[in-house]
């Protein structure tokens, strides 16, 4: 269906013949893709076309009905720890605990993925949350929850970023800042795979690769 152009470098993530079925509906079949260092990949498609499913499958959270996913040409089920050390996944749910403060949330999130937590205050400031460090997350808004989770991006040095709707409930300025971060990340050899409903503004269209999923009524393979 869709094959992204190939460069000479080893692809960070590649997928072969992915087939995904949800609620007895075929979301995509035989989808192969290859994501190289420096790619910014935008997954497009109407609601229910399987964008989230694709990202979850690429991150190893869900299993596809059929097909394989490779990290640097190794099956991800064979190198789970190594793959997870190089992966940052940001889903619909922010993973923020209402009972903990903003800072505690970020600290835990960072420590869980093996980062040191020294710069967490500075990172909270980068997502416009300075002053809220000590307030319990349950007192904060949904957008602020998402920003707590996104703060991890500013410290992340892992190459693969998989971001599901990172701009939801984020203000314009935050979006611009994130877009800048994505460009930077691609420049230093990482890759970003994201879904979003709005167009990316500050990233040049030629920099973005698109995977378009179509809403299909089909549930049959050819």
């Amino acid at each position: 269906m869709n094959t992204l152009s190939k460069k000479n470098a080893t692809p960070l993530i590649s997928a072969k013949k992915l087939t995904c079925i949800r609620e007895e509906r075929l979301l995509f079949d035989e989808l192969s893709l290859q994501i190289n260092p420096g790619d910014i990949v935008q997954v497009e498609g109407p609601n229910g076309s399987g964008k989230t499913s694709l990202l979850r499958i690429l991150s190893g959270l869900s299993q596809p009905y059929d097909g394989k996913i490779f990290y640097k040409e190794q099956l991800i089920s064979r190198c789970r720890e190594e793959f997870h050390q190089n992966l940052l996944y940001f889903g619909h749910l922010s993973g923020v605990k209402g009972e903990m403060t903003a800072e505690e949330n970020l600290d835990f999130n960072l420590a869980l993925h093996g980062y040191n937590t020294e710069d967490s205050l500075a990172n909270l400031a980068k997502v416009n949350l300075s002053g809220f460090e000590d307030s319990l997350a349950s007192h904060l808004s949904a957008g602020q929850h998402r920003r707590i989770a996104l703060a991890r991006l500013y410290q992340s040095t892992v190459p693969i970023w998989i971001l599901d709707e990172p701009f939801t409930a984020i203000d314009k300025q935050g979006v611009a800042s994130l877009e800048q971060l994505f460009t930077l990340h691609a420049q230093r050899g990482g890759c970003v795979i994201l879904t979003t409903h709005q167009d990316l503004i500050s990233i040049k269209p030629e920099q973005i690769k698109k995977i378009t999923l179509d809403y299909s009524y089909d549930s049959a393979l050819d």
């Binding site: 009524y217 089909d218 049959a220």
Partner: protein, 77 residues
């Protein structure tokens, strides 16, 4: 043959109720299981056929809409 008459057979030496209860219950459960398993086959086939019909309809509707849109666009142009 252990029994001389049919009524003796039914009576089972006084244990008739318990023996026939066991055999009856077992037969009933197994028959239900067998029938439901057998019927399941046709049920699944009709289910898949129905789904296929629905998909065909949806696809037709989509194609129709596309055509209409096209026509509409041509008119506005």
């Amino acid at each position: 043959m252990q029994f001389n008459s049919f009524s003796e057979f039914i009576n089972m030496g006084g244990y008739g109720f318990y023996v026939w209860l066991s055999f009856g219950a077992a037969a009933l459960i197994l028959a239900c299981l067998l029938i439901s398993s057998k019927a399941g086959h046709q049920k699944i086939i009709t289910q898949i056929a129905k789904r296929k019909q629905r998909e065909d309809k949806l696809r037709q509707a989509k194609a129709l809409r596309k055509q209409q849109n096209k026509a509409l666009n041509e008119v506005t142009e």
